[in-house]
């Protein structure tokens, strides 16, 4: 059924995560190939963000395996995910509001010289690089010394995207990428996704709204109550089919049912 062949970029098998007694993610299998855009859909609380945070290294999984480029990955920390080329644009954008654009772009991955126990930052170099990366994305974004709290929603989004571009993501996770944006900026993000896809980057798009992502995605994975309802190529199903998966957990023709699919549809 999957159109992509060959070794997947990301392969998550039997992934499980519980918070206290609540099973947030239960026995989930997901794959992503190079140059593929996969939309992970579901209601709030369906487990999609938790699943992606495990891939981003923000949560540790309780069980299951993850292979990146065919190699088993522990993903114990965000730093480990970064090393494997997994970048995430979080829904919150993960910006420190008291720091400026440059500081946020390099946050946690500063250019620095190691001197004894200290890592001395090369502020001038970082500023230089930040100016170049950000001007590529948004030429009108010039106030790089302004704390992020004083920036617009689009500018903040730009910083988060600039991180992924600068650190050369192989796998990009975008959590509700257009939720806080106007139509013009939403279109820019769509263009960006197509451009990154053409460069062979695998992209997970997390959304609770199918209309935002259906046209961009090659494939959808629908989750409900922590389980996968089903997986389908967007060419094989209609938006209404996918809505049925999200709302009812009903797996239509043309989709591969997962463990969360309703066993006897009415």
């Amino acid at each position: 059924m999957e159109t992509q062949t060959g070794k997947p970029l990301v392969e998550m098998r039997g992934v499980f995560k519980a918070f206290g007694g609540v099973h947030a993610v239960e026995d989930v299998d997901v794959t992503l190939h190079a140059g593929e855009v996969v939309a992970v859909l579901g209601h709030n609380g369906a487990g999609k963000s938790t699943l992606m945070k495990m891939l981003a290294g923000a949560y540790r999984r309780d069980a299951g395996s993850v292979h990146i480029d065919g190699k088993a990955a522990e993903l114990a920390s965000p730093a480990e995910a970064f090393e494997l080329g997994i970048e995430t644009i979080h829904q919150t954008l993960a910006l420190a509001d008291n720091l400026d654009a440059t500081a946020n772009l390099f946050l946690g991955r500063e250019i620095a010289w190691r001197v004894g126990p200290f890592r001395i930052m090369d502020s001038a170099r970082m500023r230089d690089v930040a100016a170049k990366v950000i001007s590529q994305l948004n030429p009108r974004f010039t106030n790089l010394n302004t704390p992020c709290r004083d920036l617009s929603g689009g500018q903040r989004q730009t910083i988060a995207i600039a991180r992924a571009i600068h650190f050369e993501a192989h796998v990009l996770i975008m959590d509700e990428p257009t939720a806080a944006l106007g139509p013009h900026e939403t279109a820019m993000v769509a263009d960006l996704i197509r451009e990154l896809k053409s460069k062979g980057i695998g992209i997970f798009l997390i959304s609770h709204d199918i209309h935002d992502v259906f046209d961009l995605a090659d494939r959808v994975v629908v989750m409900k109550n922590g389980q996968v309802v089903g997986t389908a190529n967007t060419s094989d199903v209609s938006q209404d089919d996918v809505l049925g998966m999200i709302i009812l957990g009903k797996c239509p023709e043309g989709a591969i049912p997962g463990p969360g699919a309703r066993s006897n549809p009415q």
Partner: protein
């Protein structure tokens, strides 16, 4: 301006180089107002070499603590235990130096200082572990520490006062011989100004090479101001004479200790990744974590730093009093927090400067000393300092345009 430039001029301003820190400068202004007011009220006693020398020495302990308190507050934590930790470490140093180790041994006092610093680091790590790894709020952990280490300070010698300290150790307190002297003070001034000048030139060159517009005029002006201020400071300290002599005292050693602490902490907070991380954690700890910052380790290190600074302050305090007492440092945590907050540290995290904390400590001590000079009581002093604390934070909020 017919086409939209990819590299507009505004983009080329070098990072962290907007000339002067307005907030710190306005605090310095407040300090001047306080000084001049007390000078007039006390009939010309405040702005004398002798009083300024005293204030510098008296400020050093609170200022050292305020430097550490600032980074703790920047991470959106608090340390209520610093006065008790200071007292406890001071008592351990006193016990070792006066009762345990042979008094005449040359290694006695240096070893006790090293042990004191190690103990400070250990206590800081103990607090940091509870806060960063066990997730107990810092207010609670360090409130516990306030009680634990005040009790421990008593237990070390069952409440006895231990004295006297080694004469060399006592120099850290800035007593009658505890200053550099005239010649070495000027030498120190020259060395520091040369290093500062060279540093500015290096940064300027690098920024120019990378194509930034480095504000050379502002930098020269800043250098000149620092030069004049430092020269005035050294000249003032030199003009305070030792009793019954015409020998100038020079820069007091506690001020030298404070200067070292300030330079180190400025370096750490401005130029290292650790400094960046404490601000990121205070600004948005979730963002810090998602970006791979080792948040727990960073908070742990912040508290270890605070512990070491408590130990340094303990050395200065005990050397100054020439005695270890179990009540040493009582209520000092409040002065340290007040100094950091007056200096611009925000209790909601992510904001604060070392220089501001030092100026904050100077403001508090100037109020304390000035009010004694005009014969005010300790209760009146408390009222005054409380009001200034509130006014400073309000003015800061107002000036920075929040709410």
């Amino acid at each position: 301006m017919t086409t939209e430039s990819l590299d507009p001029p505004a983009m080329n301003v070098a990072p962290r180089d907007s000339g002067f820190n307005v907030r710190t400068l306005s605090l310095v202004g407040l300090l001047f107002v306080i000084a001049v007011t007390f000078h007039l009220l006390s009939g010309g006693l405040f702005l004398t070499a002798r009083n300024l020398y005293n204030i510098v020495v008296q400020t050093s302990v609170v200022a050292i603590l305020a430097c550490g308190m600032t980074i703790v507050i920047v991470t959106r934590n608090i340390d209520l235990s610093v006065g008790s930790v200071l007292g406890c470490v001071g008592m351990v140093i006193a016990l070792l130096q006066i009762q345990i180790f042979p008094q005449e041994a040359a290694w006695n006092w240096p070893l006790t200082v090293v042990i004191g610093l190690a103990l400070g680091a250990l206590i800081g790590a103990w607090h940091g572990f509870w806060i960063a790894y066990l997730g107990v709020p810092s207010f609670v952990v360090t409130l516990g520490g306030l009680l634990i280490f005040r009790g421990a300070a008593f237990e070390v010698a069952q409440g006895k006062t231990l004295a006297p300290f080694d004469p060399i150790y006592r120099l850290f307190g800035g007593g009658i011989d505890g200053a550099l002297g005239v010649g070495p003070s000027w030498m120190l001034f020259v060395v520091i100004m040369v290093l500062y000048g060279l540093g500015e030139i290096l940064v300027h060159r690098r920024q120019t090479r990378l194509g930034f517009h480095s504000k050379a005029r502002a930098k020269v002006l800043r250098f000149a101001l620092v030069l004049v201020a430092a020269a005035a400071f050294v000249a003032t300290m030199n003009s305070y004479l030792k009793p019954r002599s015409d020998i100038g005292r020079g820069v007091p050693i506690p001020a030298l200790v404070l200067l070292s602490v300030v330079l180190f902490m400025e370096f750490v907070t401005r130029f290292t990744t650790f400094g960046r991380y404490i601000f990121a954690i205070g600004g948005n700890i979730d963002a810090a974590r998602l970006n791979g910052i080792p948040t727990r380790r960073t908070v742990l290190v912040a508290f270890i730093t605070m512990g070491v600074l408590c130990a340094i302050a303990a050395v200065v305090t005990t050397a100054r009093l020439n005695a270890g007492t179990s009540s040493t440092g009582e209520l000092l945590e409040l002065s340290a927090i007040a100094a950091a907050v007056i200096g611009g540290a925000s209790l909601s995290g992510g904001r604060g400067t070392i220089a501001g904390a030092v100026v904050g400590a100077l403001i508090i001590q100037s109020l304390e000393s000035g009010m004694v000079l005009i014969g005010a009581s300790s209760s009146q002093r408390m009222v005054a300092i409380g009001l200034v604390l509130m006014a400073a934070v309000f003015a800061d909020k107002y000036l920075s345009g929040e709410e």
